[in-house]
């Protein structure tokens, strides 16, 4: 080491650091992310508390957007741009392969246009994309907690998760993931209603048909860790992604309800396939907690032949639970952190067809 190298460091260390600005950025970024996270947490808590309602475990997608995308989308409302620019490999793939329903239905209310852009529906995934353009600045909570969904004219209460991406101050895109596909017919009329915080409404109705390019693979892998019996029963493979179906049970009451079960999935090329959403229901039966659920992850790439799957359970760190009754009334409850060590199951391998 020479005396010149410390000098190199010293010179960089002499660069003035605006600590007040850095601290402001840190606080603002974390606060805004925390606000977004509340929406996600809310869905998780429904999942963990309700014994009958189906809920979601969804990682709300990042609201960052590439400048290239901002340039493209802000100029003209390209139909299908929401999925193709979403950064979600499954949505990008089904868009490219023409497996989506391109809608492009634009309605203007009071100077704000919402375009129902594109819908994808198959056995593994049901996702709706839309964009909103206004003459005025669009606040991030402008559409409140997201749209109401109807199937064949009937209110649809299955859990869904909603995320927005800011393209510009007057342009946003949004994605709605329906996390539980139970009880959905193969084709139906989808109704979507947006209501803004200032009471404006946008209504859409469009036919949607189920895509049939889904392959089913039986897995039937079982294991027991920390008195939790886990069985991964099968895998649904489609262009939109892979959906694992599984069930778990334990005699440890409040154990499954206080954690969320997720899978880490790595293909034989070393690519990690990211999980996007899932739904589970938990019931207490004969002194046992019984969970059944499914989890959607990114589609396979690079002609992967095998997947290594590592299931794990993360226990929640506290927060607010929301129970929703059949009339849509919400009851909020503060939840204390569940002080148990997270659980990792043994990995297993799935050979793809």
């Amino acid at each position: 080491m020479t005396d010149k190298i410390p000098s190199f460091k010293e010179e960089i260390d002499n660069i003035h650091v605006p600590f007040d600005k850095l601290d402001a950025i840190i606080s603002k970024t974390i606060h805004e992310n925390h606000q977004r996270g509340k929406k996600s947490l809310r869905m998780k808590m429904v999942y963990s508390l309700s014994s009958v309602a189906v809920a979601s475990i969804l990682f709300v997608s990042s609201a960052t957007v590439s400048p290239a995308m901002a340039n493209i989308v802000s100029k003209i409302p390209i139909i299908g741009a929401v999925f193709s620019e979403s950064g979600d490999p499954g949505l990008e793939k089904v868009h490219e392969q023409g497996l989506t329903n391109l809608i492009g239905d634009t309605k203007n209310t009071g100077g704000t246009s919402i375009t129902l852009d594109e819908v994808f529906y198959d056995g593994t995934r049901f996702t709706i994309g839309f964009s909103i353009i206004s003459e005025n600045i669009i606040e991030k909570s402008y559409l409140s907690s997201g749209p109401e969904i109807k199937i064949n004219g009937q209110a649809f209460s299955n859990a869904s998760t909603y995320s927005e991406t800011k393209i510009s101050p007057t342009h946003r895109t949004g994605i709605i993931n329906i996390d539980s596909l139970d009880d959905l017919p193969e084709s139906f009329t989808l109704g979507v209603n947006f209501t803004s915080v200032d009471g404006k409404q946008w209504d859409y109705s469009t036919p949607v048909s189920m895509k049939t390019e889904v392959e089913y693979l039986t897995i039937n892998h079982s294991q027991t860790v920390e008195d939790i019996n886990l069985t991964v029963s099968d895998l649904e493979i489609s262009a939109a992604g892979l959906r694992f179906n599984f069930n778990a049970d334990t005699e440890k009451i409040n154990y499954l309800t206080n954690g969320y079960l997720d899978f880490k999935v790595i293909d034989d090329k070393g690519n990690e396939l990211i999980s996007h959403s899932g739904g589970s229901q938990i019931q207490n039966v004969d002194g046992k907690e019984e969970l059944t659920g499914s989890l959607l992850i990114d589609p396979i790439t690079d002609n992967a032949k095998t997947l290594t799957v590592i299931p794990y359970i993360n226990f929640h760190q506290g927060g607010t639970s929301v129970e929703v009754d059949l009339k849509g009334n919400e009851t909020k409850t503060n939840i204390q952190p569940f002080n148990e060590t997270d659980i990792e199951f043994k990995s297993f391998t799935v050979t793809l067809p």
Partner: protein
């Protein structure tokens, strides 16, 4: 390290307070690294903010909690490079600007002017390895892992970077550093 690892674990579960503590520990170095690429406060703050945002949204993908600092620095450097490209400000500074900078930097010490300016002029790939080696104190092996390239490439780029610096600085710094590549 153990405390930091626990903080990372908490942050991965969504504990924003833990994430904030981790960032406060790294913020100074993050900003200075961003500044070395961007060379002005506004752009460095932009890179800092975007890196923070990316880190916050992807921390659950961090595989080894002990590598938080390295992982964060990789995000920052990638963000800085992407931002530079976006702003078309890659360090191919032309002579006219060089002259202007030289004429207006009279408040700096001669050495300070030389080094920071020379760093501004060299290509990003050389700048990155020099910063990692001599500012972040990474070993060649660590830089190779960080950049996902062979150690030989790292050594070559460090030597070439030093050569470029030497040329620009007329031998002020670099001869001694050649010995500390590995």
């Amino acid at each position: 390290m153990e405390i930091k690892s626990k903080l990372v674990k908490r942050a991965k579960k969504g504990d924003s307070e833990a994430f904030q503590m981790l960032i406060h520990e790294e913020k100074e170095k993050m900003y200075r690294m961003a500044y070395m690429y961007m060379r002005n406060e506004d752009d460095a703050l932009e890179v800092f903010q975007e890196s923070l945002y990316k880190a916050l949204n992807s921390i659950n993908t961090l595989k080894n909690n002990d590598y938080f600092s390295t992982w964060l620095m990789r995000i920052l450097i990638n963000t800085a490079i992407a931002t530079l490209k976006k702003k078309q400000k890659l360090v191919s500074i032309n002579n006219e600007i060089f002259d202007q900078v030289e004429n207006t930097e009279h408040l700096r010490t001669e050495e300070h002017l030389d080094l920071l300016q020379a760093m501004e002029e060299i290509e990003e790939k050389y700048k990155t390895v020099l910063l990692l080696r001599f500012y972040q104190d990474y070993t060649v092996k660590q830089i190779a892992a960080f950049l996902d390239c062979p150690e030989g490439t790292v050594k070559t780029n460090i030597r070439r970077g030093l050569d470029l610096l030497r040329t620009k600085l007329k031998g002020v710094y670099c001869d001694d550093r050649q010995n500390s590549i590995v």
